[in-house]
Symmetry: C2
């Protein structure tokens, strides 16, 4: 969803190289005149496939060239927005490498993985209203952290990023009925990138016993372009070998070979491989709905931090700096434990496409601004 | 929000004894023609006060009697609906008695209260889309629970209720700005009753380290009538004495003297006193927003289980049956550890009103139906 300066409201766009094609101009369906993707998301898989096929045909047929050119706007002339109102937002914890790193760092002396971890994709609900578009500044949040003489209040000293992949639900499921592990495509429209900004000191102090709350709820950034799941058909891959027997409702689903890249002030600090995730998106959706809770258009579920086995593949500063005990040295000579004001974090990604092409998933970016008040 | 058989859509109603007054018929404002309270919630405190004063005037003036009579429908001829789309739903853990009971029962051998508990109202995000109107059946959820030879899947064996009071946000707060502890009235329109149905076996197995998820997300029932905060002006009371020094952003806010009653198949099993809550609604809202996360119209935050100091005042079966080890004997001769299929739970409440009157907060009710599949 984009807008142009001085040209009215929000419109649905289709990314085509360094241009945006206006969907309502190309496709004869009022659903594309909404300023939000939600009405189109509700249409379901046949409509998603039909729209994609129509646009692909127009891009290859000579006689459509005029219509395509007329609908195009240069990318640098548009402003991108969060493309849909988020319904319920769930964040998982699906990377074994991340879970082991976080356990080792945050709960030393205990087994890094809780006993449930290999039996279910552990997850929790996050705040939907603070899911914001890429490019929105992130105000350093204030909150309580643990201090030797009681809690201390102030701007977080441990502001972190989390590189994640997220899934956008289109077709609602039936209340009371679980979505089977082989039915991901019928409900999920597409994929975006997500940065689950985290205040680690706030999170550590508040999380017992009900989990993360204000340490996460201040901001979650999403990439503006949603890549249809259908466009990623060459990216499916087997997940890592399962080490434990799975309950039947979780037995299935494949991984996605999405290569992430995290840049801090322009410098690549991590290359997390989504293919290394233990739990697959199909397993996340099956688990999320197994108690009968339905999903609906606009629901968003994210993978949790993507971290690979190597240090250069870890998707958060909690891991990269070992909770601040091992600072990163950046190319400009500065060091980082956690994020400083004015730091900018950009997560981008790519995946294999048809015929050896590379599909770009765009990026999600945000800059830290100082705490208020 | 109500509907009548054969008479079209949803309408906004005002409860008047055993009748419903149609708001759009009485008040000359298009906002009351919506099938949802949200547009009215967005109007803010002056509009809420004005509407309340107008209706009160009409109810006392003889020449308005005709209009009032024309707008009235008998309560037993209407169907009540969830009165608004829920934005973000947050559940707190604000009763010291409940937190101590739950800690003692679920984490024996450790201090019942975590070290953060007296310094902040601990809370977490719940699922907004499964907040449903009173009277909706609750399907027994299925899920994973811990077993001696690995996890077991099936219908929960520990289905519980939680008697809670919830607060409905009307006026949005500004992103990035905390709501001060003395500004509850500017944002919260009113109060309803809430049953946070819980599958204790699912919850116990899944909650480490990110907190409750599927053990709670299958259903949350709310009472259909929202009592305006202004109507409860005689119910404010001092909360229990504070045992710890509070950070300034949490220092303030009063409690509400709301007396709850929980009936299981018609028999009163608990009388939880909301006046005994350690954390006040103003403190919950101040905490929720202190990191800059805004609230918006339709957001809902709940108190967590209300439990008083006496066993007869505990607001969940987890507590009343000591996690099933001390069954309740009911008047019909049956015993209960947790809820059985066909059980019906009703939570009702009252509060002091002006001149010694009692204000009824209505009730929230739900019946358990067997697991599907």
């Amino acid at each position: 969803v984009y807008s142009t300066h001085g040209a009215g409201g929000r419109r649905i766009g289709i990314r085509y190289g360094d241009r945006v094609l206006d969907a309502a101009s190309l496709l004869p369906d009022t659903v594309f005149r909404a300023g939000s993707l939600v009405p189109f998301l509700r249409r379901g898989l046949p409509a998603w496939r039909d729209a994609r096929a129509r646009v692909q045909r127009m891009l290859t047929e000579e006689r459509e060239r005029g219509a395509v050119e007329e609908s195009a706007v240069a990318l640098d002339r548009v402003r991108m927005h969060r493309p849909f109102e988020v319904g319920d937002y769930v964040d998982f914890y699906a990377s074994e490498h991340h879970a082991r790193n976080a356990g080792r760092i945050l709960r030393p002396g205990r087994p890094p993985l809780a006993s449930n971890w290999k039996h279910m994709p552990v997850g929790y609900h996050g705040r939907a209203s603070t899911v914001t578009a890429s490019g929105t500044d992130v105000v350093r949040p204030r909150g309580q952290r643990h201090g030797d003489d009681g809690p201390v209040f102030g701007p977080t000293r441990k502001l972190d990023f989390e590189a994640e992949v997220a899934f956008v639900v289109g077709t609602a499921s039936t209340p009371g009925e679980a979505v089977g592990v082989h039915h991901l495509h019928e409900h999920v429209f597409g994929v975006c990138l997500l940065n689950d900004w985290s205040a680690r000191d706030v999170q550590a102090w508040e999380s017992r016993p009900l989990g993360p709350f204000l340490g996460k709820s201040f901001a979650t950034s999403v990439s503006p372009w949603i890549v249809a799941l259908d466009a990623l058909s060459d990216a499916w891959t087997d997940p890592p070998p399962r080490t434990h027997h799975l309950l039947p409702y979780l037995d299935g689903g494949r991984g996605l070979d999405i290569a992430l890249e995290v840049r801090l002030n322009g410098q690549v600090v991590s290359r997390p491989p989504f293919a290394s995730m233990y739990w697959t998106p199909a397993q996340m959706l099956a688990h999320l709905t197994v108690n009968g809770a339905p999903v609906r258009a606009g629901d968003l579920f994210a993978s949790g931090t993507v971290s690979g086995p190597e240090r250069s593949q870890w998707g958060s500063l909690l891991e990269l700096s070992e909770d601040g005990t091992r600072p990163l040295r950046l190319d400009d000579g500065s060091v980082r434990t956690y994020l400083e004001d004015a730091d900018e974090v950009t997560i981008s990604a790519s995946a294999p496409g048809p015929g050896g092409e590379v599909i770009c998933l765009g990026d999600v970016s945000g800059r830290i601004v100082p705490a208020r008040g």
